[in-house]
């Protein structure tokens, strides 16, 4: 029998961080991700790590920059309004080419919004969450198990590419409980010759910095960074296909919306509609090629989101607007029901016919 435990999504991601070798966590409590901090407050001292409740989200992200500069694995977490506060730091992390893991357990917005689940920070996460040209690796868990496995993978990707990995979860996945296997495999360790760890008098000192005094140099930094991004778009795209082989209607959804969509797709199939799902696991890089390929057969697409329609733009771009793309969404902390998704699938069936 596999050794499983029953965990909340927020606990699973916290434990996975420890298993990935993260010994530094800085955060500030906010619903619905407070369990991450509560869990790590109890666990970090037991594994010789540092848990620190910062005086603010801004302080926490700058502590992350410090630890990342020293070459150690480090994490912070928050929910939507807190992530807005951290955005300046996210830009500095990118400008310094530092690896870090940042978790956003999204709630309804904008502003203070509400505490119920949402996916309306999709633009913020995938379009560069701060000033300047940059991307973060954005991973979207849809189960408690994935909260653990994507955090583990996220730390690896961050080190591999010297980038911030953002876990873009939603309140539901953070709060729900499911059995989890914490068998995460081996931690791969990366050389970090750039880290600020003391020269020991044996080398010139490293500088971690996002400021360049020369425009020519700053341009080159940006270009080099985007070459790395191009490589990532080629190598690191991850998605799940569900009943897409013969699908006329392809739903696209991530996180809790993908779970609702799957249940709707099974119901649609029972009614004789050939529906399927492409679930992006990496939101950046976005599974463009998979969608473009699906558009060769599919008659129409349905983007299921807990936002007013953000990912739908990436769906339309990926398929070059070659098919109708319908939006099925609820916002403000509401979650679409399988019935709502099913009726949108039926609408898409008709829209596809008119083409």
């Amino acid at each position: 029998m596999a050794d499983k435990v029953l965990m909340k999504g927020n606990e699973a991601l916290a434990e996975a961080a420890i298993m990935a070798g993260c010994r530094h966590y800085f955060g500030y409590p906010i619903t619905p991700q407070t369990e991450v901090a509560a869990y790590l407050a109890k666990r970090m001292p037991k594994v010789g790590g540092t848990f620190l409740q910062a005086e603010s989200e801004i302080a926490a992200i700058n502590m992350v920059i410090g630890v990342a500069s020293a070459g150690k694995r480090v994490m912070t977490s928050s929910s939507s309004p807190g992530i807005s506060l951290k955005s300046e730091g996210l830009s500095y992390l990118a400008g310094c080419d530092l690896p870090a893991l940042v978790v956003n357990v999204q709630r309804g917005g904008p502003g203070l919004g509400g505490i119920q689940p949402s996916q309306s920070d999709y633009f913020h996460a995938t379009r560069g969450a701060g000033h300047g040209d940059f991307h973060m690796l954005v991973l979207a868990p849809a189960s408690v198990q994935e909260m653990a496995s994507l955090v583990f993978k996220g730390f690896d990707l961050a080190d591999k590419y010297r980038m911030t990995t953002m876990i873009l979860a939603d309140g539901t996945i953070g709060q729900m409980m499911e059995p989890v296997s914490l068998d995460m495999g081996e931690v791969i360790s990366y050389d970090k010759p750039w880290a600020v760890t003391g020269t020991g008098g044996k080398r010139t000192h490293n500088i971690v910095n996002s400021l360049s005094l020369l425009p020519e140099e700053l341009e080159q930094w940006n270009i080099a960074r985007y070459e790395r991004y191009a490589q990532i778009e080629k190598d690191e795209v991850q998605y799940e296909s569900f009943m897409t082989e013969d699908a006329d209607i392809v739903c696209v959804a991530f996180g809790v919306a993908a779970r609702v969509a799957k249940n709707a797709i099974v119901a649609a199939r029972a009614k004789g509609i050939k529906a399927g799902l492409i679930r992006p696991i990496t939101l950046w890089p976005f599974p463009k090629a998979a969608l473009k390929k699906a558009a060769e057969k599919a008659k129409a697409f349905v983007s299921v989101e807990l936002s007013m329609g953000q990912m739908i733009e990436d769906v339309e771009l990926a398929i070059r607007c070659s098919r109708p793309v319908l939006l099925c969404s609820r916002v403000g902390g509401m979650i679409p029901t399988p019935e709502e998704v099913l009726s949108k699938i039926e609408e898409a069936q008709n829209a596809g016919r008119c083409e």
Partner: protein, 221 residues
């Protein structure tokens, strides 16, 4: 049977589910029953979620007017004093998780002790990450008692892995619960087992059959 039954424990231990099941049972036996959701910690998945079913089956529900809404304040309703004031009712109390959740109990503990007709039950799931051992559960007991100013009187072993629970999990949980009972001096009142599994259990003990409440919208994954 005591007039007031309180369920407390580590968050996610199954307190709310058990409190709901127990309140429904009391009402079905013809008792005037009230359930109070005193959870000031958990934003989602609360006993309040079963409000419609509870009220339909004759259980009165006391809950913060803000529960399940977007108002993120740890507010308790004044109505909660009915638990101690209105002795015509059997009262079931769903205490918030951990010591922080139990803080709210401090407001009632004096009256509960004075009436001295209550049961304070620890709900424990040994397959939760921070209560894997009887020693860890004992720590939770002492933290909650200090925060809530009310001593426990018994234990319900709710060791489970949700849908994936097998007989083996029940046996191992039972062993740990018995050890916790010996260590704490608290009576082990019983162990929950999901209905479908009950006939596979081949060991002695008090077993409480339970039905797992699904979130059907997310069932297939």
């Amino acid at each position: 049977m005591k007039r007031v039954t309180l369920f407390a424990g580590h968050y996610g231990s199954g307190k709310s589910s058990l409190a709901v099941e127990y309140a429904l049972k009391l009402a079905s036996e013809g008792n005037k029953t009230v359930i109070a959701d005193l959870d000031i910690v958990n934003p989602y998945f609360r006993s309040m979620d079963s409000r419609t079913e509870l009220e339909h089956k004759g259980v009165e529900v006391i809950v913060s007017p803000y529960a399940g809404s977007n108002v993120d304040v740890p507010a308790l309703p004044g109505e909660m004093y009915r638990i101690v004031d209105d002795r015509d009712y059997k009262a079931v109390v769903d205490v918030g998780g951990d010591d922080r959740g139990a803080l709210a109990l401090g407001r009632l503990s004096g009256a509960l002790k004075k009436e001295n007709d209550y049961e304070m039950i620890l709900v424990v799931n040994f397959l939760r990450p921070l209560t894997r051992t009887p020693e860890e559960a004992l720590q939770v007991i002492s933290e909650i008692e200090q925060a809530g100013h009310l001593p426990f009187t018994g234990i319900i072993n709710n060791t489970n892995l949700g849908e994936l629970t097998a007989a083996e999990h029940v046996y191992r949980g039972l062993e740990k619960a018995e050890r916790l009972s010996r260590m704490s001096g608290l009576e082990l009142l019983g162990s929950t087992v999901k209905q479908e599994l009950l006939r596979d259990i081949k060991t002695n003990g008090v077993f409480i059959p339970i039905k797992i409440r699904h979130r059907a919208d997310w069932a297939i994954f």
